[in-house]
Amino acid sequence: MDSKVIYDIFYLLAAILFILGVKLMAHPRTARRGNMFGILGMTIAIVISVLSANEQLVSLKPFTLFVIGLCCLIGILFGGILATRVKMTEMPQLVAVFNGIGGLASVLVAGAALVVANNFSVDEKLATGLSGFIGSITFIGSAVAAGKLQELKFFKKDFPLPTFLRHLINLALVLSCGWAGYALLNASPDQAVLLYVAICSFGFILGYTLTAPIGGADMPVVIALLNSYSGLAASATGFVVGSNILIIAGSLVGASGIILTSLMCVAMNRSLLSVLFGGGKASVDVDADLVYATVKRTTADDVAMMADMSERVVIVPGYGMAVAQAQNAVSDMAEILEKRGVTVEYAIHPVAGRMPGHMNVLLAEADVDYEQLKELEEINPTFDTVDLAIVLGANDVVNPEARKEGTVISGMPILDVDKAQQVVIIKRSLGPGYAGIPNPLFAQDNATMLFGDGREAIQEIIAALKDL
């Protein structure tokens, strides 16, 4: 009894550390400490759980402890490799992978708890079913999302079924899960395990049929949603094993995921339903050639000259910067310009790139001071005093069409780049961005295009600047 008290107090302490950790994430200065709080909380929780397991073990003791230790080591090894090796541009995929892994772990834990349980109450069975259901959807859904973002062949091909049939299949799967879950509540232990396996299998299939038809570019929303699910699965597991820390930590993650999801949807001016079940995207009926009739080209030398003569330059990065991995080159260019007395700022749109905060992370990787990164509300009123705006691989987030009615991006707040004195757009072609519509900004009087890969173009500008 006494040791249990101490354990529980430490669990509570761990929960407090998690909450404080997230709280400290509210500022770049304290965020690192916040992460440390999280690590500390997790370490405490794991150590305490091992201690209490050790105390409860009456048979297979050495074997179990060995398995726990070994598996922890394996996890640390692989987790460490993933954390240190993966490129910053692959962050969205990595988060998806972690999500999926977390979901699968929930499935396994709840399943194992069910197998060894001898007197599960109805509500514990309900929690087990939920845990399996959510966890399995999260697992496969995240795998699909990661595959699409990594642009793996397998996930690229279109989903073969028509929308109506797809919805029907999904509905059937959900109903089957519901039925299996209901049966689980009344089932004998042996049946229960079988039914649990059924729920998880349906969940796995559902994870695929739900996410496979969603376009690769919508994946970030899906990932945030699945992040939320992985938290809910952890919470459900908490109800299964009767552990408050799982409930608290899981609900924190659940809240975080759902908030990020809704922020992304708001910033894109789309509803979550239209992201998940399609129907949001209208077909392109604007004639791109007409829009682009007056497009002017420019050269790296000209851009360098313009930049050098400017007082204030704003760089607007977008998904193309991530694709081209141009962040370091951009940072170097900014440095050179600043040495020449030019004020350089970055305008970061909330949904630039493919995940929330994507551009911030990339630019931070390139050692850009976070004070230089301006958010939309902050920089938009000052665009008319900007001498030169360099749009680097951004498209939708600077598309003035968003101000009109009736386009797919109508209502989405955009960066008012078109109000700058001069605009240079760096991209490989006149191809559209994520939303698939042409951008009249490119043909504006004060705009010129610099065609080419993002990083190469910037490097050419740097070379030209050095020659000046």
């Binding site: 992460n35 999280g38 048979s59 396994l108 197998v115 930590a249």
Partner: protein
């Protein structure tokens, strides 16, 4: 912002109703309740089932199921209040830190490892070696989630705190 606030409210109430209906469904099912009791009676360990019979009349005696129920209710309460804390705390995180927030909260969801370790003891106590190995896999997976998530968050945040360096070329 107002929209975000309203959606927050709706989300929370939604989650609440979702749980509550599921729970009511489970409780409202009488056959489930009987099945539950009979499953308990086939229990290996000696549970104080005798008290169950006359417990409904006496007002202030906690029985085993009553207590389990109270724990569930407490869990539900904790869940909902934690969601409030989560919403309050997370809406304060600025946009620029959303990617680290995502990976960090991801790491926190690796808390299932605690559940896995706790269950592993039960599995072992039933001499179910296979179950132990299964749970072991869960431990490894959750550990990947934890270490990878916190690690990558740390890596990103370290970049955020560094000042501008000298140009690389």
């Amino acid at each position: 912002m107002n929209l975000a606030k309203r959606s927050k409210l709706i989300i929370m109430l939604g989650a609440y109703l979702f749980l509550v209906t599921g729970f009511l469904l489970a409780q409202g099912n009488p056959s489930a309740a009987t099945e539950n009791t009979s499953a308990e009676q086939s229990d290996v360990a000696p549970v104080a089932d005798t008290a169950d019979a006359d417990s409904d009349t006496a007002a202030d005696i906690d029985t085993d199921t009553d207590d389990k129920y109270a724990m569930l209710m407490a869990g539900l309460t904790i869940f909902i209040i934690s969601i409030f804390v989560g919403v309050e705390v997370i809406t304060k995180v600025p946009q620029k830190l959303h990617t680290p927030l995502m990976s960090g909260s991801n790491a926190i969801s690796g808390i299932t490892i605690v559940g896995a370790i706790l269950v592993s003891a039960k599995c072992a106590n039933q001499n179910n070696g296979l179950a132990v190995v299964l749970v072991g896999i869960a431990i490894a997976l959750a550990m990947i989630n934890v270490v990878g998530g916190f690690g990558v968050t740390h890596r990103m945040l370290s970049m955020f705190t560094k000042r501008k360096k000298a140009p690389s070329t």
